[in-house]
């Protein structure tokens, strides 16, 4: 499937890649994509194992596609038909790995100037100086990576990649493990830097939050193929594919029958599965009697131990707790309302509300937390 991300700018990076990866067992994985990336941040989104890192490796020249063509900024980097395969050191494709891979034996400054070994001393110093400032790490120049905190290491890794004036920037989940605020600050600095350079940036993530925070354009990858591309809202909020919906954090995916449309209110009523459970969802392109899929995030569902009153939320369903399962600091509650819902609650809420399996509860669901899936 073709994925064209962003129509405003001409694509600066185009890649058509087919690569088969045989693992030890019988299972083999095929990456088969065609993407076009214009300047600015494009998110490559998908669950782990979808082929995101393999795609980046192929663009960077660390991995060789079985066939295809990769071009960036007017230069062909790989073309299986013409036998072109520019080696990684000559591609000028900057790559920040998830592990950052800063050289532990070199200082921050030496790390950053690593890619400028062929530049004259004076120019090298000037560029290193400028980029350390742009990423606010000029005070750390003499420190080794082992002495530097997480967020600062990420800044240095970005500076090291960008100081070489690359054609493209590939980021493989570079900001994992940082809190949202720090992440936003680093991304702001990255955007500020790229405002002048306008290179294409491919940003890999499987985190829904990062897509919301960064996304200008999203390419969604699943099992080695592009399943959709476009603005984040289009790609993720109306998930077209079940797996993608689950990857995007929609734990509840329910089939439903449309009962009636209330166009003036912008809603319609649907019956969930074969149950008697009826809920109100946003109006979609559907006729009464047709089947639709409704996706709901587990985190968007409220639990109450008494029938709630005076709420703006339109959907209140009575049910029984089937199971409670603790995952880290979160409890996954399964509630049977005729159909089974998955809801996330905190351990504190479980204690205060004395939630136990078998207990009768009410689920509260806002109309606009219900997403229609085509």
């Amino acid at each position: 499937m073709d994925a064209v991300a962003g129509e405003v700018n001409a694509p600066l990076l185009t890649a058509r890649i087919r690569k088969e990866r045989r693992s030890a067992g019988a299972s083999s994985f095929v990456l088969d994509v065609r993407i076009e990336v214009s300047s600015g941040i494009t998110i490559l989104f998908g669950a782990s194992g979808a082929g995101k890192s393999t795609l980046l490796d192929c663009i960077a020249g660390l991995s060789r596609p079985d066939e295809g063509r990769i071009a960036a900024g007017g230069d062909v980097l790989f073309d299986s038909a013409r036998g072109i395969n520019v080696p990684a050191p000559k591609r000028r494709a900057a790559y920040v790995f998830q592990t950052l891979a800063l050289f532990p034996h070199l200082s921050a400054e030496e790390n950053v100037s690593y890619g400028l070994m062929d530049s004259p001393e004076e120019e090298r110093q000037k560029r290193v100086e400028a980029i350390l400032k742009a990423f606010r790490v000029e005070k750390l120049r003499k420190q080794r990576p082992g002495e530097i905190s997480g967020g600062e290491k990420q800044r240095i890794a970005l500076a090291r990649s960008l100081v070489t004036e690359p054609r493209v920037l590939l980021l493989d989940e570079p900001l994992t493990g940082l809190d949202a605020e720090l992440k936003a600050a680093i991304v702001d600095d990255l955007r500020a830097w790229n405002a002048a350079k306008r290179i294409p940036i491919l940003y890999v993530t499987h985190s829904r939050e990062e897509v919301d925070a960064l996304g200008e354009r999203v390419i969604a990858l699943e099992n080695g193929i592009v399943v959709s591309a476009g603005a984040p809202m289009d790609v993720l909020d109306a998930p077209r594919r079940k797996k993608l919906a689950q990857a995007a954090g929609f734990e509840n995916l329910l089939s439903a029958t449309v009962l009636d449309l209330r166009e003036p209110d912008g809603v319609m009523r649907v019956r969930l599965g074969e149950s008697a459970c009826e809920i109100e969802v946003p109006l979609g392109y559907a006729a009464a009697g047709s089947r639709v899929q409704v996706a709901v995030r587990a985190g968007d569902i409220l639990l109450a131990t008494e029938r709630p009153h005076g709420l703006s939320a339109r959907n209140v369903m009575e049910g029984r707790i089937v199971s409670l399962e603790q995952r880290g600091t979160m409890v996954i509650a399964r509630v049977d309302c005729g159909v089974t819902f998955v809801a996330h609650v905190t351990p504190g809420a479980v204690r205060t509300l004395e939630l136990t399996p078998g207990r009768r509860v009410w689920l509260v669901l806002k109309t606009h937390s219900c997403h229609l899936v085509e």
């Binding site: 960077a60 020249g61 660390l62 080696p87 990684a88 050191p89 000559k90 591609r91 000028r92 494709a93 900057a94 790559y95 790995f97 592990t99 891979a101 800063l102 050289f103 532990p104 034996h105 690593y114 890619g115 070994m117 062929d118 080794r144 990576p145 082992g146 002495e147 090291r160 990649s161 070489t164």
Partner: protein, 222 residues
């Protein structure tokens, strides 16, 4: 003391040569994806299991005036290789090869592959990556390789006896000198030599273990 000096000279030459030859060999063995690489690995490890006399015997045959190496040497330099210091170096290099190569392979393999990828995408070719990333991060392995090949050469007996014989100042190394002294019942002289060798060996091995335990580190651990 002439024997001790000769042994030290031999060990230093061998250690230096082994580092030079060992690095490319170890690099290839650590990073090559060739399926038949186990064959070369076995060949490199061979001196570990062969009796020194077997190795020494073949080295002697090869270096003799009718051996291929001996013929070549005579054509080049006008004299034979057997029973000379040069011959001793050559045989010792073969004999101590695994002691240099194996620590190098282990430390090259221990370098995080992502660092090599990072170096490549930053524009560095294989040689530059080796000098700037692999070698500095493998320093403990390099020290171990140098010290072990030095120490191992210092203590060898069988190969030296086969290839070098027992010529004072040319091929009479410490271990052979000690053997000589014992044969002539000069236990005092044998003891002095033996003690010197013991002390040197202990000091040298202490360096290896200290480096690997990171008693002195050139950079802090992660």
């Amino acid at each position: 003391m002439e024997a001790l000096w000769l042994s030290m000279k031999l060990a230093a030459c061998v250690a230096a040569i082994l580092l030079l030859i060992g690095m490319p060999v170890a690099y290839w063995l650590a990073y090559s994806k060739w399926r038949g690489k186990f064959l070369l690995e076995s060949l490199v490890a061979l001196p570990l299991v062969l009796p020194p006399t077997v190795l020494g015997f073949y080295a002697l045959v090869a270096m003799g005036p009718r051996g291929p190496l001996g013929k070549l040497w005579i054509a080049l330099f006008g004299h034979g290789l057997a029973f000379t210091f040069g011959g001793l170096i050559l045989a010792s290099v073969l004999y101590s090869f695994p002691f240099a190569v194996q620590p190098l392979i282990a430390s090259f393999e221990g370098v995080d592959r992502k660092l090599l990828d990072a170096s490549a995408v930053l524009g560095a070719g294989g040689l530059r990556t080796f000098w700037r990333v692999i070698l500095p991060l493998s320093l403990p392995g390099v020290v171990t390789a140098a010290v072990l090949s030095f120490a191992h050469t210092l203590g060898e007996f069988g190969v030296v006896l086969m290839v070098g014989g027992n010529l004072a100042g040319v091929t009479r190394t410490v271990s052979i000198d000690i053997y000589d002294h014992v044969q002539s019942l000069e236990y005092g002289a044998a003891n002095r030599m033996a003690l010197a060798l013991l002390a040197i060996s202990f000091a040298v091995l202490s360096v290896v273990y200290a480096v690997n335990r990171r008693v002195w580190t050139p950079w802090p651990a992660k």
